[in-house]
Amino acid sequence: MIRFDHVRHRYAAHGVVPRAARSSSGHGNGHVNADLGRDAAGRGDVALDDIVLDDVSFEVATGELLAVIGASGAGKTTLLKLVNRLLEPTSGQVSIDGQDVARREPIALRRSIGYVFQRFGLFPHLTLAENVGVGPKLMGWRAAEIAARSDELLDLLGLPSEVFRRRFPQALSGGQQQRVGLARALAARPRIMLMDEPFGSLDLATRDQLQQVYRRLHEQLGLTTVLVTHDVVEALLLADRVLVLHEGNVAQLAAPRALIAEQQPPAVARLLEVPRRQLERLEALRR
């Protein structure tokens, strides 16, 4: 179980929290972007993406697949990084199975969590098999085990290991690289998966296929997954629950069915509007 308790996070440019941001953070005001705007105007070094989370609380149950959606800069990636301590909360607490992650040794914590990076982050100097084997190697597996595990995952994700294990990442298409990224995250048999736009660069057919593959794996392995995505349809069709982030706040947290059915706050309604309209137009075409 992953739990966020009143978590705030402010991006600090160059490692220093701007004074304006620091002084206002204690007041718990919800208008984070107003602060940031002033800050950006004043210092000129805070970009749009340097977003914060403000008083975010939620839980992800063990075995749950939670999708996080929201506009660009809503704080989705920040939320993921707080779980494995790539970022630290300014205040509040993130815990896993009841234990504050701040008390855990960050290296061991990260090794126990699978992470699929938005920009792949494959190691260009390593073969695909070696890329997939990085996590197991860090965990001290034996070479034969690592090789077998790499082959297994490459095969599973549609990259026949016979063909691909000795290739280097730059020889792959974006979609293929993304699969290797997924394989790498799964390699060390983590219980928790953090996924940042894992299917973003795949064509529609492959995306659908891989989504199903992952959903099955999630069930089979009993994973707990937090999946960040731009794709509202993906979130609705794949996740057990969907968390809508808006300007650093939790705008909604609900099961897909409830999200579609109920009357939603304006920020959430806007996000859902596009897929809904597309669906209506598709329906109209069929008639």
Partner: protein, 542 residues
């Protein structure tokens, strides 16, 4: 051109050159890569470190090498190694920083996110990814170092530069050519090897990488151990002290004075010094000493080398000691200077002035015969009276800064329109080709006669005496055997004979090797031992 003689010295000098290049590059890599990694992490440190390496880089190579001698208080290998390593640092440092900073942030985030420790991230991700860039820096550094290592000869470290310096001074183009070609070959070979390494790395071809690495290692090892393959050990070959044409006489059966070990004979960078060094070596060898020569030493390092016992004997000139080391500029007569210099050397440095060889190699002014006649001058006084103000003076590197120049100008109220410094071997050609009107010649130089120059007399003795004297290091100063071996040389060399010997080596046609010239001179040295079978005797001069 005697190519085979030059080639016989090649293995030893190639080895010395390759060894110091490889060591210097190795040290530069071992220091610059960690320093570069640190600097990549800390922008403030980066600016400082790169700035400092840049400053080192702006110091001319020869100056940096020469600076290391007093800085380390040593001579030869260590200052050369340090200077070369310092010089090689900048490209490696810069490329390491660039390589590390240039690693894709997405890759670094992945390394962190997967739970690599900072150390694992550095060793398994950052350094491997920066390696092609770092290797490019190493490649640049190595090629520079091969070139600059030729300059380590004047500080007493044998290198391929020994061919170039000695060849330039004795106008032996074969030697210069061998030196340049060998240095270029070494640079190209290393560059190609490192280039292959770099290419295989960029293409991630591991087999090629190991082949290139093995080839490079083999090249370096083969270079370092070249003399062994050719037959002689490096020591023996560097010494190369068996004259091609011996001064006759079978080696005497006199037992060697054991505790002294090998005697090192020094020589500065001009023909006379090469000839005399061989003459001295030959006498010492005939007395049973093991001898090694250290030639082409800068005139600033040779005396320090003697003081410290890195060399044991060389020929110096009283005027040089008087002005350069004793820092005195008042004019004194020849005998007075000899005794004052002798006393100073003994008291201050424990160096023994064994005695004068019998000739002077003093500064003098010389000009083309026709030019002198046109101006109607035979002496410095007349030169000044003829309106020397517009004259161009060609000279060596030292003279413009020496006290002699000031005194020359003051004594005769002489001033020159233009002063141009040349390498001494080009100075004579410059006056002959009317580039300059008058040069500061050396009185024992064979090129005065050869170029048809006249020496202007110095009635007011503006130039101090420069008697050639034998100096012995503190180590051998009290060794009677050494003194006995060299004493027959004292007073034996007249300026005419020295000039002839120098000319034999210096002239364009019918050149003699320094060994042959030394052998010819040895014929005039009276000795208790019989000197027979002198090859290249006096007839050869004609």
């Amino acid at each position: 051109m005697d190519l085979s003689r030059e080639l016989s010295e090649l293995p030893a000098l190639w080895s010395a050159h390759a060894s110091i290049t490889a060591l210097a590059a190795g040290i530069a890599v071992l220091t610059s890569v960690p320093l570069g990694v640190l600097a990549a992490r800390r922008p403030r440190l980066r600016a400082g470190v790169l700035g400092m390496a840049g400053v080192v880089q702006t110091i001319p190579g020869l100056a940096l090498l020469a600076l290391m001698v007093p800085l380390l208080g040593a001579f030869g290998f260590w200052p050369a190694l340090l200077a070369l390593a310092l010089y090689a640092m900048l490209p490696i440092l810069r490329n390491t920083v660039e390589g590390i900073v240039g690693v894709d942030p997405a890759v670094l985030e992945a390394a962190d996110g997967m739970g690599m420790t900072p150390r694992q991230r550095l060793l398994e991700v950052e350094l491997p990814l920066a390696l092609p860039v770092i290797l490019a820096g190493i490649r640049t550094a190595v090629v520079w170092t091969v070139g600059m290592a030729t300059l380590s000869t004047p500080v007493g470290q044998p290198s391929l530069g020994s061919f170039i310096f000695a060849g330039l001074q004795t106008r032996n183009s074969a030697a210069v050519l061998v030196g340049c070609a060998a240095a270029a070959l070494l640079a190209i070979a290393l560059d190609v090897g490192l280039g292959a390494l770099q290419a295989s790395l960029a293409r991630r071809e591991r087999r090629r990488w190991s082949i290139a690495g093995a080839a490079l290692t083999l090249l370096i090892l083969a270079s370092v151990f070249a003399p062994l393959a050719v037959g002689g050990g490096p020591e023996r070959a560097i010494a190369a002290s068996k004259p091609a044409v011996g001064a006759g006489g079978t080696p005497s059966a006199r037992p060697a004075p054991a505790p002294l070990g090998t005697l090192h004979v020094g020589a500065k960078t001009f023909a006379e010094q090469y000839v005399l060094a061989r003459l001295i070596s030959d006498r010492l060898e005939r007395s049973g000493f093991a001898v090694e020569r250290r030639e082409s030493l800068g005139s600033n390092v040779v005396f320090d080398a003697l003081r410290q016992g890195d060399i044991d004997v060389y020929v110096e000139y009283t005027g040089t000691i008087w002005s350069s080391y004793m820092k005195r500029d008042e004019p004194v007569s020849s005998w007075r200077m000899l005794s004052l210099v002798s006393a100073w050397l003994a008291q201050t440095h424990g160096v023994r002035l064994l005695g004068a060889l019998g000739f002077e190699n003093a500064y003098c002014l010389a000009m083309r015969r026709d030019r002198a006649r046109a101006l109607g001058v035979t002496s410095l006084a007349e030169l000044a009276a003829s309106g020397g103000a517009g004259l161009a003076l060609g000279t060596d590197y030292e003279f413009p800064k020496r006290a002699e120049r000031a005194r020359l100008e003051a004594t005769y109220a002489l001033s020159f329109g233009r002063v141009v410094s040349y390498d001494p071997s080009f100075m004579y050609a410059a006056v002959e080709q009317r580039e300059v009107d008058v040069i500061t010649a050396f009185s024992s130089d064979g090129r005065i006669d050869e170029r048809g120059l006249v020496v202007l007399s110095d009635p007011k003795r503006a130039f101090p005496p420069y008697d050639a004297v034998l100096l012995l290091s503190p180590r051998v100063a009290d060794e009677p055997e050494v003194a006995r071996a060299l004493e027959p040389l004292l007073g034996a060399l007249t300026v005419d004979r020295m000039r002839q010997a120098n000319q034999m080596v210096d002239r364009e046609q019918d050149k003699r090797t320094p060994e042959q010239a030394a052998a010819w001179l040895a014929g005039f040295v009276r000795d208790r031992e019989p000197t027979v079978g002198v090859n290249g005797g006096s007839e050869a001069v004609k």
